[in-house]
Amino acid sequence: MKSQLQLLKHLTALTIFMLTPYYLMGQDSSQSPGESQVNTCLECHEVLEVMPEGYSADDVHQAAATSCVGCHGGDATNYDMDESMSPAAGYIGIPSRQDIPKLCGRCHSHIDYMRTFRPRIATDQVDQYNQSIHGKKLAEGDQNVAECVSCHTSHAIFPADDPRSTTYAINIPNTCRQCHGNAELMDQYGLGHDQYDKYATSVHGKALLERKDTGVATCNDCHGNHGATPPDAESISNICGSCHLNNLTYFKQSQMAEDFDIHSCQECHGNHDIQPPTDQMLNTDSDTAICLTCHSVGDAGAATAFAMYRDIETVDSLYTLAQTKLKASQTSGMNYAEIDYQLQQTKQNLIQMRTLIHTFDTEEVKAKGADGIKTAKEAIHLAEMEIQEFQTRRVGYGLSTLAIVILAIAVFLKIRQRDEMLKQQ
């Protein structure tokens, strides 16, 4: 049996040896002389059709001329399989999960080396990973947690700004889902497994996954990536505030933040399933009021919420009315530039009012609302003038047509009368 195996090995080596020149003839010869063109690992594996699962020839390491031995060890210049894949040649085969961060860090934590490929690339990934929940668990011997290849893959690694990358913004939720959507696995840690489903229906998820807006928050924007940890209450507000700047500024200066010191954005907005906020969240006259989670109808907090709701609703209903009238002006073919401009101002006022609610100061919201009412009323007034002008033109057109018809009839009658007179003479 052993001799048969030996024979098979030698036959395989001979086949590869004979086929290799033909294979190399078809290769690109444009590589610089300094680069080694020989990668016997790849040549044999391609010929034997035992390529790694998910292998991509465009892999970033492949493109950077880092051969297989960079991770697997061995000698990529030797066609003898026994020698090239021997411990003496440094062959390590498939690295253990425990060793992967260290293995990647051999290059990725090396500033001088990495600078030769990408001058601005970070080199603290392994340090961050070691401080992350994933890294700490792996160090404890947990074999289920994510390490480098769990997110980046083994043989189809692309820079994060490449849409083919598993770490490209749009692909990140699905990458995290591979583990965090696995109920059986997450149960072991007492974690939920519906974060992806919740995120996909959220305002951020829809913007990212449906509208492909890569500027929107995805998993790593809140949790970090290499140093991924669950954010605490204080950091949640700071995380949200990194995009929702004024909301955080107003909130931090508000009585709510000062007096209670417990609130963070997620208490009102949730986390993975954040929905577009509605004015109804403030309507303490309905069941939709989020404020009633802590406040009760009749207390000062509920009264503040309702006052802000009422002011926003006033401007919003005027804005809606003005939009209808703007549309009527547009379909009448009238000039609507001024109306449109005023409506843009109202829209800005509404955005600012909805941001100012984070001050929990009714006077601030009311003052901004006054500006919104003014511009919305101006837009409505102008739109009504345009619609009136349109009606006047229609009536005028009808009257002028009538006048011309009457004139034509009169001229006809006059001519006939003149003809009759001429006949009588």
């Binding site: 500027g215 995009c243 800005q348 009169a410 009658l413």
Partner: protein, 145 residues
């Protein structure tokens, strides 16, 4: 009561028709000559005020047709005019004097003073307008493509 004859009726009809027809011709001409109560759309150039009244390191929002335009005089005395509507979700942008950048407070979008989106969610730059100073008067106009 005087009875109106057929001839008189035709004359009245002719007079009424003639006057109405003249009115129908001259009324639109008169309306055309009187300026409309609402400003006409889309100017191609706009005077936005004297440079003496626009100090360095300041900004103001002016109206160009139906668009708000942010006019910025930076610390280096250059004047920039850009559409003031953020390309992310249409909020009005602001000039940050400290940072010498244009920021959108809605989602922390950042543009440089040429309007290029440099940080945050804005997907494209702000549109730039040509700025000229003629006899100390700042004039902005749409850039030709």
């Amino acid at each position: 009561m005087t009875k109106i004859g057929r001839r008189d009726f035709v004359n009245y009809l002719l007079g009424f028709g003639g006057i109405s027809a003249i009115a129908a011709i001259f009324y639109p001409i008169g309306r055309y000559l009187v300026p409309p109560p609402i400003r006409e759309a889309e100017p191609t150039t706009l005077k936005v005020g004297s440079i003496d009244e626009f100090p360095a390191n300041s900004s103001k929002i002016v109206r160009f047709g139906r668009k708000p335009v942010i006019l910025i005089r930076d610390s280096g005395e250059n004047i920039h005019a850009l559409t003031a509507t953020c390309t992310h979700l249409d909020c009005i942008v602001q000039f940050s004097e400290d940072r010498q950048q244009i920021i959108c407070a809605c989602h922390n979008g950042v543009y440089d003073l040429t309007g290029k989106n440099v940080s945050g969610p804005p997907p494209k730059p702000l549109t730039e307008f040509a700025v000229k100073v003629i006899d100390k008067e700042i004039v902005i106009s749409q850039m030709k493509a």
